[in-house]
Assembly symmetry: C2
Homo-oligomer: 164 residues x 2
């Protein structure tokens, strides 16, 4: 399951695989595009890099953050929607299903509380995935949260219950 936290400057991703006993983090990273680059150039880098990751890793599912929480910053939301457009396109081009989850759904799945603080979410992700420290930067943490939640949905793994 590949979680993606879309942005136009930095897009975080985290790739998880469910094994028989535990969930493994296969890859995490940030796709960065120049802040000064034109919109079309940034979308091209994002789409091309994502195509490479999907081709190499063949995830069973893509999970992105839903956009509807972003209305307070309409310009940011609109730019992120452009990024989401090429992410959805890449998913479809490789025939990988893609779902969108709200931040509240991720918080609930990861911590059991849909209104959990950001630090609590990161600590829970660290525990769930057996990481040495909380995931950073925040785009990667959010991408891992999306992937954990997507994995819980597709495999029946219940991170908020079985590991706490």
């Amino acid at each position: 399951v590949l979680g993606i936290d879309p942005g136009l400057v930095d897009t975080g991703f985290g790739l998880l695989e469910a094994g028989p006993a535990e969930v493994a983090v296969l890859d995490v990273g940030v796709i960065s595009t120049g802040r000064a680059a034109a919109l079309e150039a940034r979308l091209h880098v994002l789409h091309g890099t994502l195509q490479g990751i999907i081709a190499a890793r063949a995830p069973a599912l893509l999970v992105v953050e839903d956009l509807y929480a972003e209305y307070r910053f309409p310009r940011t939301a609109l730019l992120m929607a452009h990024a989401r457009g090429v992410i959805y396109l890449a998913a479809r081009q490789f025939g990988v299903p893609i779902i969108a989850l709200s931040p509240a759904e991720v918080k609930r799945a990861v911590t059991g509380n849909g209104a959990a603080a950001k630090g609590q979410v990161q600590l829970s992700i660290q525990t769930l995935l057996g990481l040495n420290e909380p995931p950073r930067p925040s785009h990667v943490a959010d991408a891992l949260g999306l992937a954990v939640t997507g994995l819980a949905r597709t495999t029946g793994w219940r991170p908020g219950r079985s590991r706490r």
Copy 2:
């Protein structure tokens, strides 16, 4: 010059070519995707069709409508931004420059009045391009307006003055 009026259900396009004496309409149409189709499927159809048009026609410039007038309908604007994302991507993939124009800029270029009524814009486009009737549907009319304005910018053609 290829004008594109992006939508997720229907995207209008209009392709213009400036000849020595007049501007020719090479192609107009609507790229329709099923209203019931998933977002990723609609973006895939839009991107693929647009790639085909760009590959076949090699326009010198793409012109799309700017989004910032759409804040009154944030959900619509967000969906349109996804469509714009794959349009910008297609432009970049073929190395075609792409610009965004506001409705007011188009109205001003086409009629000389940035606050012209829709019907007036369509009549002006009909006259400028020597069409037998006003362009329809409105997605095509808007796409032609964008292309006319883009052409005026790149060639120095001044539609609002020389033809009226």
